[in-house]
Symmetry: C2
Subunit: 499 residues, 2 copies
């Protein structure tokens, strides 16, 4: 009977946490972690009429989810999708829709057998892959092969396929930035591999330095790990950094020298603000440098930019310098989940191939410019307000949807955090939530240099809300410093300038 | 330098198949495997005007994808979704839509902050989880907790989460049927675990016998494996079997005795035909038997039934007898991909909560009955035609969207298959494709008893096409037997009756 008994759950007959896959237990994803759980409890409290909170609603700045905070969906795309969704409307037409909407919807309906109700080929419908290839060719000035493009449920699903393909076991590592959007570390953990962190340079607008990549590579190798790929998030998440052309050149040469697969997370490519270095794709850099031996994957998404279509879950990745038989393994992985959702696939087509008729085009461009300008203004407003606070410094907002301010946590608060079993920035973020209703993500959820503390916040609250959000944040911060000030000396008499 | 060189790709600087995760290489998913690849090449050939094929189009019977073969989408649901997709339509209304469509769309729009363009909570929007819970309570007569319901991109994503949660390493196995829809074996392989097969009883309408479950359990344990869960697909895929209440009772008791998590794939619960045993959920059976120590997961999907909304990728799973802390681990897994697509989530709500106004309700029920009746007629037509062929026997069509006929492959064809490096049923299926354009899946892709050969076909070609599909299949089969007949004796003088 011994053999038969081995399947018994730990300590009795109900499945317990100790019975589960330890890799799942180990995986962390702070963007939807402990602070958000607490926020959801508070939301439930408020909904139940419990008046114990000093605010009337929770504002989720933990995640780049623009439409949840009032950003409008893109009009042309949604009109087309509404017709695709109900083929009756294609036949009858909708009086308020333009000819271009109708024609575009008909083009998709004709090209996609079974419409949005049928499984597509596992890579996604060909018409959209053709649109993506045309977009990439136009953007970069180099050919793009629709057969090397895979449509996915957001960019995340593509990252999952690639980490699954590359990580062979505990010895394998992927070089990834610290701080880092924790999708990569979560998927590496689930894939029984690990992340080898390279540190972004906070003093240089969170840039990537080749010396640091080499250090991280050597450290991983010394620890017995085999680096398999390099993740670059450009523009950065959580940092908002837009990398210079010089940094990008160095990255490609580094991958070439070290035989690494270059995983280019470029989902914020439309979100570059002001005088920041303009976006250049790593595919273009690779081709410019004739580095045709560097396997490169570029991820994009309809969730960010100015489309902000998070809930539709549309994305793609493009492979370059991948052998056909390696691509076939990715196609097999994609096929195991059958296909990505076809509405999201068409959403990708509508993002990369915007309207062209004069009327639709000018409305589209006006909407795009207004949304991007507004994001830029809000980014600057939040960054300025943060930099005006004692003990806070924040790199200028260059791109993406986030700021990642550095906070000096007073020693008394560090002690209080330890007593609560929390990292100091998690303690700070939890206090912020409970004082203001603002949800941010502690820097410790992304990784950061030892002894530094940060939090990530989006600047997505609507233009009407953003001033009050900033005021609440500032009020909280000053109160926090006061509460945890060392009684022996005045609390932060002047903004710190030596971080 | 030795350590640094270890990351070089095998035999040179370009990533090769030998460099990839061996678990990915090992995973198989025949439903979109070799035969489909060949079919896609042939489709490209035909599109290019190459007239070398004796048919003018490929008919994909390899996958349950009803709308790709002409089934219409559900009207009420699509009308609601078109309004949700474009909030303008909610304001202006659409003259041809009923009041119930408008009200339903407004209900979702009000309840879902940010609409379909915003990430939802990782488990899915609460309003739909409430609708699912109400549906389950109504179906089973037992309470259902919306907090134990997770909305997913089709059922497949939920199966992925559960296998990832349960499989801890190479020693762990999940008991799964043979033949089996190969999602389970693919995910077990990717999860570094394995499938312990139990054989379905072809002579008893492909039923599940507890003796056989015990045999498979003991065999797995003897081989050093730890069984963690039991997969039941009811109605069956690829077999179409609808299990009896007696079989279901035995399954629940078996899981209780052996401390197994019961994974109930019930995506075909609406697809039960004629005099087959009616569908009873394993949740109801578990509650009836007061087996409240059996952790149970039930998967459902909008892709099957009579909705057939494959491309929308909507599904859910319900957990029963799961501890809160174990559920939290699943929530974390779900959060790593942020959320399932929100259109698919609302699609689930529209499936489980159909219209109730007299006019909409009667149209909905007429459409449902017509679609299910038509499926049943086509199933019988295909089964009868198969059973009339020499060397073919096919269990009656009880449920799901598939038939899984048994074929006697002549010895000369077995030899020819071996010479081509193929399993006999793969050889047969490839020949069928190249002769008729019909795409089916070889039984060897699902698992089958040694020495038996099958293929899986859907009966989804439209009522207009199905007769010609059956005629082509029959013609091919007779020609195949003739081609590979033993010259010494007449080819299958009479239908075999002793299988």
């Amino acid at each position: 009977m011994a053999a038969l008994l081995r399947s018994r759950f730990v300590g009795g007959s109900i499945l317990k946490v100790a019975d589960l896959n330890p890799l799942v237990l180990k995986a962390e994803y702070a963007v939807r972690g402990q602070i958000l759980q607490r926020a959801m409890e508070i939301e439930a409290d408020i909904k139940a009429g419990n008046a114990k909170w000093p605010f009337d609603r929770v504002v989720r700045c933990n995640i780049g989810n623009p439409q949840a905070l009032g950003q409008t969906p893109p009009k042309f795309a949604r009109q087309v999708l509404s017709m695709i969704m109900n083929p009756e409307l294609l036949a009858t037409g909708v009086s308020s829709y333009s000819t271009e909407v109708l024609e575009r919807a008909r083009t998709y309906a004709t090209a996609i057998k079974g419409g949005v109700g049928a499984y597509s080929d596992s890579k996604g419908v060909r018409i959209v892959r053709d649109e993506v290839a045309a977009f990439i060719e136009q953007r970069d000035g180099y050919p793009s092969d629709p057969e090397a493009i895979y449509l996915t449920d957001g960019a995340s699903a593509g990252v999952r396929h690639l980490t699954q393909l590359l990580l062979r076991g505990p010895q394998d590592a992927i070089l990834a930035p610290s701080p880092q959007y924790p999708l990569y570390s979560a998927l590496a953990t689930l894939g029984n591999g690990s992340i080898a962190p390279y540190y972004l340079d906070e003093e240089a607008d969170w840039s990537v330095a080749v010396d640091e990549l080499e250090r991280a590579y050597a450290a991983a190798a010394k620890a017995g790990n085999i680096p398999r790929g390099l993740v670059i998030i450009n523009p950065g998440n959580p940092t908002g950094a837009s990398l210079t052309r010089e940094a990008l050149d160095g990255i490609v040469h580094f991958c070439q020298r070290r035989d690494l697969v270059l995983l280019a997370d470029e989902v914020y490519q439309e979100n570059v603000y002001g005088t920041a270095p303009p976006f250049v794709s790593l595919k273009k850099v690779m081709r410019d440098l004739r580095a045709d031996d560097v396997p490169l994957v570029s991820f994009h998404s309809i969730s960010k930019g100015f489309t902000g279509e998070c809930g539709l879950r549309g994305g793609y990745f493009e492979l370059a310098n991948f052998r056909t038989d390696v691509r076939a393994q990715l196609t097999k992985l994609a096929s195991i989940s059958l296909c990505s959702n076809v509405v999201g696939q068409i959403g990708v087509g509508l993002m990369v191939n915007p309207p062209t008729s004069p009327e639709e085009k000018s409305a589209y461009e006006a909407d795009r410019d207004a949304k991007l300008d507004s994001l830029e203004r809000r980014a600057e407003l939040v960054a300025d307000a943060l930099n005006a606070l004692p003990g806070v410094s924040c790199a200028r907002a260059q791109g993406a949807l986030y700021l990642f301010p550095n906070i000096e946590v007073p020693p008394k608060a560090v002690d209080a955090a330890a007593a609560a079993g929390l990292q100091p920035d998690a303690f700070y973020s939890l206090r912020m939530l409970e004082s203001t209703g603002l949800v941010v993500v502690p820097g410790s959820g992304f990784g950061q240099k030892n002894g530094t503390w940060h939090f990530r916040t989006t600047f997505l609250p609507s233009p009407d809300d953003i001033e009050s959000v900033v005021a609440r944040l500032a009020g909280f911060h000053r109160g926090f410093l006061e509460e945890f000030a060392d009684p022996a000396e005045p609390a932060h008499p002047s903004p710190s300038s030596d971080l």
